[in-house]
Symmetry: C2
Subunit: 531 residues, 2 copies
């Protein structure tokens, strides 16, 4: 058997060969941190391709359905931009543009002949995290030992997307093991953040985050066991949704990452209405509910009341995060319907033990030793527990987790007495992490996302602002919760995080995806109105 | 601490004191096997009380809502009949008629004052399996050691039912551990079958089965981890429904047992529309779907196609079961909409290993040593495995179970090519057990029910006929699958099972309760039409 470095070299060579040679560009030097404008200035994309790739998912779907744009030209445009993006931030793994263009041509033919679209995502290029199998392709998932293993069938979700008319065209980078919120492995190397390449794009769906931020894909599919959709969405300034579990026993769920909420809605509605439960026995049989989308369970959107969670009682967020919460709080009363906020202590009522216990159940992802500087203090708590536990012990932990879920449900219901609307708090708005995208190797705290996995609450990410060194100066030290809180505090420096997007998280109740999307739309519109 | 027999004697004394003394009757001698007519001839119930207790749930709810009958008189009538039933078949545990009558009086007052019902189950007496906690009452669940432990709060389902206007009034007997399909324990003794007291009423919700068969309750709540609703429903000639899991990790689900399908529907609709997910974090957020009830996913009921599973490839059913399948097959083409059946081998395609593996995952209930004759052959396979397994092993078994669920789903979908309707088989009709109610201690095979728990398919029980010694003579020996199949074959004798009800099971797809209820209504109407 060849040495592992030989296997990697061969794989990288094959990857290079999968790129059309005339799409190779000369990227800016590493010292250029912000590369977001490069794809439009590098000369590879013509004006129409730039227009296509700058179009939001809803508008793309309309123009594809009306044959104003063909699937082939849309796929070509995104493929070119994806290849440029890859040369900037190293975001791709499998590249199969030929296959995608062949599928796009079929779709164009079908539409021409029948006058009908194949499905609700007709002609939309979709990128996939390097975890979602496609027949005939390797799924390396960051493991050298998986090089050369070709899938003999599509993942169920790929079949569903193809039925919906989507065009898978690239797969994207992840961390080795998937269990780390940065995207770095021995096969494909490290993905960087296009807003500031000295920062991480997050993980585990970090290739998606970087690619979509550069508009190299209109919509990507990530998976989220503890924040793997939300962290890269937040670090790269995207919209993303972690749905409720589709499964009884598999804590990882697939969800969309994209540049507009329209894309999130289009993906969720298309996938749910494709009846995935006829293909996946663990998918919940629950159709897209337009009534829930219209906030039937939230007074049809009248006087929405959001609880703001300023910090989790374990790690205090950095200044830009705090500012984004203030912006959102200020924006929501004026936005669309009347809104208000309850600064409710219940969401951070000193239950870090709860969180720790709870997250340990889902297989909390912060178990790697992939940091660049292993000498960091206070990270030992994030290392994996060695040795297995018994099934009996696991049941005890699951029982404990159920009790915690019941406790939180009762808490949430009890807020009805505080809101003034007669309803409990409609959603929670909170940080997605205590920081924006961190320098590589420093993203070591995921409890702002994992807590909602543990409770199985759906959560959407939405962008608010970017780091501003004038507005986001370091604050004087607070009373630190512990050494790790101090470590995070000391990590901050506005120059270091220059230009990084700042996103927040809107959290709803289990299997309430429709309402979470609608409420995020309302908040997003309110933020836009105040800009 | 007193000797356990003293504790039991004291408890039985308290139980006796909870019965109004003028409701005590002189039951027939033990040699009288069929006691179903006794409640109406014993003289305790007047004509109106007999009329009330013979009324189906839908009609009861209408008359209660229109104040034609008061909740107090309905509760009184069922309480009296329940007490008579208890004296015949030993079906009750906790008796709290005073509390129920006080609640009924409140409901009557409310209706009188407001002209409105409290909820969709306004004034309906409901009996509960001795597992479902009620504040201030013991929940003994067959354990002597639980005598004297009083609940400090209601189970969530009890709160939901009370909100819906129901009136809990008695709790009913179960086996020690709940993990045995007959109802016998050291505290309350053995519940017998009112159609033939030498037979079991089944378990674990066997007190419910016997009580409802004697019309001592219009509707009971059982729980089902492997057949505990369906086995007593089938053995006592009732309608019952095992819903899909409401929970991700708790395989036991609550469901209704009653004398009409109207009762099954009223219960499910009321409970689901009460939004149990606001009280129980494991309840699936899915409203009652009238469209699914109208069989939107089954061609709106046009040309329904049922697969008949004649046997499970492990144990061949007794003659009355086979006859009931033939009656149902013959009835369905003429019943209501056009129906047909596919004798599809896929449902028993020699996968007993699958079943065994699968049922072992859910905690298959046949693990007790409660049989009367421990010397029976071939029961060792049904004893519990000693010693724990690791969480890793459990995950492997769960993974295997998921693969099996996927395999069955694909099988079911593939039947579209066989039905002639363009749709897959709409439902499966199969035995609920290979036998009708067995003699006490002989109910040792539950795979006809557990298989659907493993696959998480909802399943309804419906009555077809009763054992007829002329029509149901013993058949010549078949080629036995194994010794246990032979043992079951040799157990049969039409005289032994005299007068026992024969029921079947209709099985649908996960979270498709509405359609399962509707299809069972269609089959039931077809059977009625041929009688």
């Amino acid at each position: 058997m060849p040495h592992w470095t030989t296997l990697v070299a061969e794989k990288k060579q094959r990857q290079l060969q999968s790129i059309p040679q005339d799409w190779l560009v000369t990227p800016p030097p590493d010292s250029t941190l912000d590369v977001t404008s490069f794809p439009e200035t590098c000369g590879l994309l013509n004006a129409r391709e730039i227009e296509i790739t700058n179009t939001s998912v809803d508008a793309l779907l309309e123009r594809l359905a009306s044959a104003e744009w063909t699937a082939v030209e849309v796929t070509t445009a995104f493929s070119k931009r994806a290849i440029v993006a890859h040369q900037l931030v190293n975001c791709l793994t499998e590249i199969f543009v030929d296959r995608a263009l062949a599928r796009a041509a079929e779709l164009d033919d079908y539409l021409k002949k029948t006058g009908k679209v194949v499905g609700p995502l007709h002609g939309l290029p979709i990128s996939l995290k390097d975890q979602i199998c496609i027949k005939g392709l390797e799924t390396i998932m960051g493991y050298v030992s998986w090089i050369g293993q070709y899938a003999d069938k599509n993942a169920v979700l790929v079949d569903v997307l193809i039925e919906c008319g989507a065009v898978p065209f690239v797969r994207t980078n992840v961390p080795q093991t998937l269990m780390w919120p940065e995207s770095f492995n021995s096969v494909f190397g490290r993905t960087t953040n296009p807003y500031n390449r000295s920062l991480t794009s997050g993980g585990s769906s970090g290739g998606e985050g970087a690619l979509i931020a550069l508009k190299g894909s209109p919509l990507g599919v990530g998976s989220d066991i503890g924040g793997s959709i939300r962290i890269p969405s937040a670090f790269c300034g995207l919209y993303g949704l972690r749905p409720s579990y589709w499964a009884y026993s598999v804590p990882s769920v697939f969800g969309p990452m994209t540049n507009s909420l329209g894309g999130v809605k289009a993906f969720m509605k298309a996938v749910v209405n494709a009846k995935p439960w006829l293909k996946d026995p663990l998918a919940v049989r629950k159709k897209w509910d337009e009534d829930e989308y219209n906030l039937a369970d939230h007074g049809y959107g009248k006087d929405l009341c959001f609880a703001i969670m300023w910090n989790d009682g374990v790690v205090v967020p950095h200044p830009p995060i705090r500012r984004s919460l203030e912006i959102t709080k200020a924006a929501t009363p004026e936005g669309g319907p009347q809104s208000s906020t309850v600064q409710s202590d219940i969401w951070n009522a000193g239950s870090p033990e709860d969180f720790m216990i709870t997250t340990s159940v889902t297989g909390e992802p912060i178990i790697s030793t992939m940091e660049l500087d292993d000498a960091d203090p206070a990270v030992s708590g994030f290392r994996p527990q060695n040795g297995g536990i018994t099934a009996y012990k696991l049941w005890q932990v699951q029982k404990l987790r159920q009790n915690i879920r019941k406790e939180y449900l009762d808490h949430w219901e009890a807020t009805a007495s505080e809101t003034g609307t007669g309803r409990p708090v409609d959603a929670i708005i909170c940080p997605a992490a205590p920081f924006v995208a961190t320098p590589h190797g420093k993203n070591k705290y995921a409890n702002y996302t994992t807590v909602w996995n543990s409770l199985d609450y759906p959560a959407a990410i939405f962008p608010v602002t970017t780091v501003d060194s004038t507005l986001d100066g370091q604050e004087p030290p607070h009373g630190f919760y512990d050494d790790f809180d101090k470590y995070v505090y000391e990590m901050y420096d506005p120059e270091k995080f220059k230009n990084a997007p700042v996103c927040l998280q809107l959290v709803g109740r289990t299997l309430e995806e429709e309402a979470v999307i609608k409420m995020t739309e309302i908040v997003d519109a309110a933020l836009t109105a105040t800009k």
